[in-house]
C-alpha cells in the first residue's frame, strides 16, 4: 500500500491506496466523486477527464500515486457554489448533452481548451475535442456550448 495526499476540489484528501489504483478509481470509489466517468480502457474516450494542477488529464491513465501532492479538480468542483462555470452554463443553454455520460469529461476538457485558447474558431474547437468521444450529440451542440462559453462566459 502507498500513502497519497491529493488536494481534490480544494480539500486535502489523504489515503492508503494500492499502488496500481487508477486515479479515476481513487476519485470514484474512495472519495465517492462519481461525476468522473469511465468509458473505455484504452485512454480514448475522455469520459474520465479531470484537471491536474490546472491541465486536463485522463484520470484512467494516471495512477493515484502519480497525482500525489497535486491539485485535482473534478466536475464536482467546477461550479463556484450555486454559480455554474460558464462551460456548464453553455452546455445547458445549447443542449450540449443527451445521456450525460461523456459530459463531465467533455466539460473538463473544454475548460482546458478555453484556458489555452479563449476565442477558438469552430475548427479549433472540433480539433480540441479530439480526445473526447460523445456517442449521442454528434458534437454540434457541444461546439455551440463552447462558443457560448467563449462569447458569454
Amino acid at each position: 500500500m502507498a500513502q497519497v495526499s491529493i488536494t481534490v476540489n480544494g480539500k486535502q484528501r489523504s489515503s492508503e491506496v494500492e499502488p496500481r489504483t487508477l486515479l479515476v478509481h481513487f476519485l470514484r470509489e474512495q472519495l465517492n466523486l462519481t461525476g468522473t466517468h469511465v468509458g473505455c480502457d484504452t485512454s480514448q474516450c475522455g469520459a474520465c477527464t479531470v484537471l491536474i494542477d490546472g491541465r486536463s488529464a485522463k484520470a484512467c491513465t494516471v495512477f493515484a500515486v502519480q497525482a500525489d501532492g497535486s491539485e485535482v479538480t473534478t466536475i464536482e468542483g467546477l461550479a463556484e457554489g450555486e454559480q455554474l462555470h460558464p462551460l456548464q452554463t453553455g452546455f445547458w443553454e445549447e443542449h450540449g448533452l443527451q445521456c450525460g455520460y461523456c459530459t463531465p469529461g467533455m466539460i473538463m476538457s473544454c475548460v482546458n481548451l478555453l484556458n489555452d485558447n479563449p476565442k477558438p474558431s469552430e475548427q479549433e474547437i472540433r480539433e480540441g475535442l479530439d480526445g473526447n468521444l460523445c456517442r449521442c450529440t454528434g458534437y454540434q451542440h457541444i461546439v455551440n456550448a463552447v462558443q457560448h462559453a467563449a462569447t458569454k462566459g
Partner: protein, 788 residues
C-alpha cells in the same frame, strides 16, 4: 388575490432540458456509481477463441486468491440460470448464460468470479484457464450457409437460423405460397435493370456508458432489486422474475441514469441473469461493470446484412419491380430481437415509392461472432441503404438527376394511408415537400455546378441524395411481442404539484423535459411544479420501454391521456367550488377559472387541496386526483425525410472529407425542436460513422480485430461538418399528439447519401457502387485503377 404570472405555452418551444443541471455537475447516478453495504464485485472470464469445445476449466488459482468469494463454471451457473430466452417467434438454439460445453464467439462467458473488489475480481477472472478442443471458426456468412467450415448448432443445418422467409407481392401472409406472376411481369417489361450485391456491415453500438448491473436480493423479503443500464426496465423485471421463479411483484428493476443505449440495452443479457442469480444464491449485493473491451465483444452488434438488390424500371425512371434478397450474419445466437431485425428491413422495402411489385427474402445465418440485435434504426437503415443506393445506381445508369428518379416514383400525398407491397400501412406523408426543401436548402443546381466545376479542376467532389421513411412509434401489440402500448400515471398532489410517471425509460432523450412541457400546457402550471418519474418499476407501475422511436409517440400519448383524465376530474372539483359548469373552465397561469373571467377562478393549489379534503364531496366524485392510462396505438408511425451529402476525396491519399450534410426530417408535430435537433444530430453522426469510419471486423480465425476505440472509430468532432437541418411537419393521425418519433431518423438517410456522394466523386473511374466503409485505402485503389 395572488398575482398570477402569465405562463408561456411550452409545447413546440426550445425549452432547455431539466435533466441537465444534475448531469453538468456530476450529480447523475449511473449504475457504476451505486454502492450498497456489503456489496461485492463480479467479473467474467471470457472465451478467447471463436469456436471450440471446452475440455476443462481450471479455477483453482482464482479460488485461492485473497478476496475471492466464489468462482463458478458454466455448469455450476446452469444449475440456477436457465437458457437465455428470446422473444421472437423463430426457432432458437440453446443459449447458456455461461458456456457449458462449446464456446461460439470470442467474448462468450466461460466462468464467473465473485470477489471483494473489482481489481481482485478481474485478476481472478484472468487466472482462470480453459483447455479447448479447437473447432473451425465460421466467419464468412455466405460460406456458412453451405455448412462450411463447420456447423455451430446441432439442429441448425447449414447454420441457417432462418432458411428463406419470403414476403411482398404475391406472397401469402403466412409465407407459405408464393406467386411470381406480377414480379416476373415487371422484370419482363423492364427497359433497364440494375443489380448489385451490397454489404451493410456490422457495427458496435458503443453507448459511452458500457453496460452494468447491480443486483440486491433480500432474503427476508424474498425480494430482488436490480439496477441495470437498460432501456426497458419493465421487460427486465419480467425477464428476471420468470428466470428465477419469482413474481413480478417480487422484482424491482431500476434503470437509473443510463449513458446511452442505441438499441443495444433493450434486452436482459446473460450478465444480468448471472448477477441477479448469484445475488439470490449468495444473499449479498453484487455489482458487475462492463469494460469497454468487454463491451465490443459482449454487447450485441448491429446491422451485418448482405443485400442482393435488383430493380426493374422503364427508361423514364419509373420503377416497375424490385427484388431484395437479404442474408443476415446474426452471430452465434439469437438474442431478444435478433431474428426480427431483418423483418424490419423487408417491411420497409417499399421505401417512399409506389413500386408495383416487390419480392424480398430473408436468410439468417449463424457465425462465430458476437450476436447481432437492435442498433439505432434496427433494420430500417439497411432497407433505406439498399433501396436508395439501388435507385442511385438506376439514376446513374439512366443519366438522370437522382432527385428526379425519386420524384417519379413517390407515393403521392393523396394516397395516404398507403398500404405497401410489404403490408405496412403508411400513416401520412408528403415526400416531395421534404425533397424540395432539401434541394432548396442544399442549393441543388448550384451544388451540381460546383461539383462539375471542381471535377473539371481535377478535384474529386461528389454529391449524394437519399430519401427515407422509417417505421416508428412501435407499435400495436399485434406486431410487438412485448406489447405495443405505453403507460402513464398523473397525480396532482395535495399541494398542487404534479407527479407523473411514464413507462418510457429515457437514456438521453430528455423526457423529463418534453413530458413536463406537455403537462405544463395541459394544466396551465409552471414547468418546475412538475416531476416526471421513469425507469423504476416500483414507481412507474407499467411500461414497455424506450426503443423504436416510441417514447414520444406512444409514451407521450399515454401521458397525454392520463393527464386528460385528471384534468377532467379536477375540472369537476373546480366547477363545484366555482359554481360553474366544468366545460366552461380554463386552466391557465396557475388558475382554474371561467373562460373569459380569470379573476373569478381559484388557484390550482386551492382546487387540488379541495380534492383531497372534499367538504362537501361533490356528487358522483371520489376524493383525490390521480389517474392512469394505457395508450395502444392503432398503427406505427412513418416519419420520413431527405438527406444530401457533399464529399471530397483527396486524389493523392484517397481520404474522404464530408463537406456538407443537409437534412430535412419530418417527424410530425414536435414537442421540443431543440431536443429533436439533438436527436437528429446524433443519428446523423452514427449514420455518417457507418458510411465512413466504423466497421466491426473479424479475422479468418474469428478473432475480433476491432475491440477497443483504438481500432473501432466512432466519429470525433473534427470528423463531422456542421449539419444543416430543417424540417417539414406532417402530423400522424395515429396518436393524439400528431408526433411520429425521431430517435433513429438520422441514421437512415445519411449513410446512403454519403456513399452515393463518394460514388459520384469517383464515377469517372468507372465505379457504380462502393461497399462501406469508405476507407481511404479502398478509395485510393479505385482512383489508381484497382477495383473497389
Amino acid at each position: 388575490m395572488a398575482e398570477s404570472p402569465m405562463l408561456p405555452k411550452m409545447v413546440g418551444q426550445r425549452v432547455k432540458r431539466r435533466e441537465d443541471p444534475r448531469l453538468i455537475q456530476g450529480q447523475g447516478t449511473y449504475v457504476d456509481d451505486l454502492k450498497i453495504v456489503g456489496m461485492e464485485h463480479v467479473a467474467f472470464a471470457r472465451s478467447d477463441i471463436a469456436h471450440g469445445r471446452i475440455k476443462s476449466v481450471d479455477t483453482s488459482v482464482a479460488e485461492a486468491m485473497d478476496g475471492v468469494t466464489a468462482v463458478f463454471t458454466g455448469a455450476q451457473i446452469a444449475e440456477f440460470v436457465k437458457p437465455v430466452p428470446i422473444i421472437t417467434p423463430f426457432p432458437s438454439p440453446d443459449h447458456r448464460a455461461v458456456v457449458v460445453d462449446t464456446v461460439r464467439y470470442v467474448g462468450e462467458p466461460v466462468a464467473v468470479v465473485v470477489a471483494t473488489n473489482r481489481y481482485i475480481a478481474k485478476d481472478a477472472a484472468d487466472a482462470i484457464t480453459v483447455d479447448y478442443e479447437m473447432l473451425p471458426a465460421v466467419v464468412d456468412t455466405e460460406k456458412a450457409m453451405t455448412g462450411q467450415p463447420a456447423q455451430l448448432h446441432k439442429d441448425f443445418e447449414n447454420n441457417l437460423s432462418v432458411a428463406l422467409l419470403p414476403s411482398g407481392t404475391g406472397v401469402s401472409p403466412d409465407g407459405q405460397t408464393v406467386d411470381d406472376t406480377a414480379l416476373d411481369q415487371a422484370f419482363a417489361d423492364a427497359e433497364v435493370v440494375v443489380s448489385q450485391r451490397m454489404v451493410n456491415h456490422r457495427l458496435a453500438p458503443s453507448a459511452m456508458e458500457p453496460r452494468g448491473t447491480v443486483a440486491h436480493y433480500e432474503p427476508g423479503h424474498n425480494k430482488m432489486t436490480i439496477w441495470s443500464s437498460n432501456q426497458a426496465p419493465h421487460l427486465l423485471r419480467g425477464a428476471i422474475a420468470s428466470m428465477f421463479g419469482m413474481g413480478e411483484d417480487q422484482v424491482r428493476a431500476i434503470a437509473p441514469e443510463v449513458g446511452g443505449g442505441f438499441g443495444a440495452k433493450v434486452q436482459a443479457y446473460a450478465e444480468d441473469y448471472v448477477v441477479a442469480g448469484l445475488s439470490k444464491k449468495l444473499g449479498i449485493a453484487l455489482k458487475w461493470t462492463e469494460d469497454r473491451s468487454e463491451a465490443f465483444l459482449a454487447t450485441t452488434h448491429g446491422r451485418g446484412i448482405i443485400g442482393y438488390i435488383d430493380i426493374a424500371a422503364t427508361n423514364t425512371g419509373k420503377v416497375l419491380g424490385m427484388k431484395l434478397r437479404l442474408i443476415a450474419d446474426i452471430g452465434a445466437y439469437n438474442t431478444l430481437f435478433t431474428a426480427a431485425i431483418p423483418t424490419f428491413t423487408t417491411l420497409m422495402a417499399n421505401a417512399t415509392y409506389d413500386i408495383p411489385a416487390i419480392r424480398t427474402t430473408i436468410t439468417e445465418v449463424f457465425t462465430n461472432k458476437t450476436p447481432t440485435d437492435a442498433y439505432r434504426g434496427a433494420g430500417r437503415p439497411e432497407a433505406t441503404y439498399f433501396v436508395e443506393r439501388g435507385l442511385d445506381m438506376l439514376a446513374r445508369k439512366l443519366a438522370m438527376d437522382p432527385a428526379e428518379v425519386r420524384r417519379r416514383n413517390f407515393i403521392q400525398p393523396n394516397q395516404f394511408p398507403y398500404t405497401t407491397q410489404m403490408g405496412a400501412v403508411y400513416d401520412s406523408g408528403d415526400y416531395a415537400a421534404a425533397l424540395d426543401l432539401a434541394l432548396q436548402n442544399a442549393g441543388w443546381d448550384k451544388l451540381k455546378a460546383e461539383r462539375d466545376q471542381a471535377q473539371a479542376e481535377g478535384r474529386l467532389v461528389g454529391i449524394g441524395l437519399s430519401m427515407y421513411v422509417e417505421v416508428c412509434g412501435l407499435g400495436p401489440s399485434a406486431v410487438l411481442p412485448t406489447g405495443g402500448w405505453e403507460h402513464s400515471q398523473v397525480t396532482i398532489e395535495r399541494d398542487g404539484r404534479i407527479n407523473a410517471t411514464t413507462g418510457a425509460s429515457p437514456h438521453g432523450q430528455g423526457n423529463e423535459t418534453t413530458f413536463g412541457q406537455m403537462l405544463a400546457d395541459q394544466f396551465g402550471v409552471p414547468l418546475d411544479h412538475i416531476t416526471i418519474h421513469h425507469g423504476d418499476t416500483a414507481i412507474a407501475k407499467q411500461g414497455i420501454g424506450t426503443f423504436g422511436s416510441r417514447s414520444q409517440a406512444v409514451g407521450g400519448a399515454a401521458l397525454h391521456l392520463a393527464g386528460g383524465k385528471v384534468r377532467k376530474k379536477m375540472a369537476k372539483f373546480a366547477a363545484a367550488l366555482l359554481e360553474a359548469h366544468e366545460d366552461d373552465l380554463v386552466f391557465e397561469n396557475g388558475r382554474i377559472s371561467v373562460k373569459g373571467a380569470p379573476d373569478s377562478g381559484k388557484s390550482f393549489e386551492e382546487v387540488a387541496a379541495y380534492a383531497y379534503v372534499p367538504v362537501p364531496l361533490p356528487e358522483g366524485l371520489e376524493p383525490g386526483l390521480s389517474e392512469e392510462a394505457f395508450f395502444e396505438p392503432s398503427n406505427n408511425t412513418y416519419p420520413f425525410g431527405c438527406h444530401i451529402a457533399l464529399i471530397e476525396i483527396d486524389r493523392d491519399t484517397g481520404e474522404p472529407t464530408l463537406r456538407r450534410l443537409i437534412a430535412v426530417d419530418d417527424a410530425g408535430n414536435l414537442i421540443n425542436p431543440l431536443i429533436v435537433e439533438g436527436q437528429i444530430h446524433g443519428g446523423l453522426a452514427q449514420g455518417v460513422g457507418q458510411a465512413m469510419i466504423e466497421e466491426v471486423q473479424y479475422g479468418d480465425d474469428g478473432q475480433p480485430l476491432t475491440s477497443t476505440f483504438m481500432d473501432y472509430a466512432i466519429p470525433r468532432a473534427a470528423d463531422l461538418p456542421r449539419f444543416e437541418l430543417d424540417n417539414t411537419v406532417t402530423p400522424t393521425p395515429v396518436n393524439p399528439l400528431g408526433a411520429k418519433g425521431v430517435g433513429e431518423a438520422g441514421t437512415l438517410g445519411s449513410t446512403p447519401c454519403v456513399v452515393s456522394a463518394a460514388v459520384d466523386a469517383l464515377s469517372q473511374f468507372g465505379v457504380t457502387h462502393i461497399d462501406m466503409m469508405l476507407r481511404p485505402e479502398k478509395l485510393w485503389q479505385i482512383i489508381n485503377g484497382g477495383q473497389s
